[in-house]
Subunit: 138 residues, 2 copies
């Protein structure tokens, strides 16, 4: 513990870090909460924080994959969206959500949100590709 | 392989399943795509499908945790939202996103979307709790 030069540096007593140096896992606007209730809340929040870090990293990896799709599509003049693929994805994720007891409506909304962001990226990649390789079309 | 009674049952040749029985991993609205380009696209899409299954399961687990928070808050008459906590979460996730080369704006938008859904759930749990335990207040 004492070997690490930044351990608990400039951090309020009792504050726990979860991967981001300035993060205060005890941050709250709640007041007048019984200390034992607050500790129970913090314990569940630790699980949520761990899951959120996993989600961010999975999303980052997903965007690396869709970026490769974007370049492939731009190189071969394929359209940014693919309605048939998206319908199959949404249907599958609704099924997976149901099996995992996650609201399928919510899963579909999240996927649509991600897909629309991905299509925006694909369009930008295609735009950049046209600018960089004007010999492919006017 | 042959022991499994449902293996490849009523599935078109070449269609691959990814955890959901009716899912066609080759579904597309693209036409006139060079077969080798399409296979390259399908290979990246397999990665995306694997990540999406992981995301759905992480989100399902996250909602199990926030549901526990919802019950705890309802039991102790705590408000559904916690602005100080949310600000700390968003700041942390922006930092994690940046480190993973994911657009921090996008990470923040996704988290806000999830948090607003969670608060909606908390409100519903609190509402149900008031209905079930009217002795706690009028």
């Amino acid at each position: 513990m004492t070997e690490h030069p930044h351990a608990n540096q400039s951090r309020s007593p009792g504050a726990e870090s979860t991967a981001h140096s300035d993060f205060d896992a005890r941050a709250t606007s709640l007041s007048d909460v019984d200390p034992s209730i607050f500790e129970e809340l913090l314990s569940i929040r630790q699980t949520i924080d761990n899951i959120d870090a996993a989600l961010v990293h999975m999303l980052a990896e997903r965007f690396r994959a869709t970026q490769r799709v974007g370049y492939l599509k731009a190189q071969h003049d394929l359209p940014p969206g693919d309605a048939g693929r998206e319908a199959a994805q949404i249907q599958r994720l609704r099924g997976l959500a149901e099996a995992a007891h996650l609201d399928p409506e919510f899963a579909e909304k999240i996927l649509n949100f991600i897909i629309s962001e991905v299509i925006r990226h694909h369009e930008r990649i295609a735009e950049d590709h046209r600018t960089e390789a004007p010999e492919n079309g006017a």
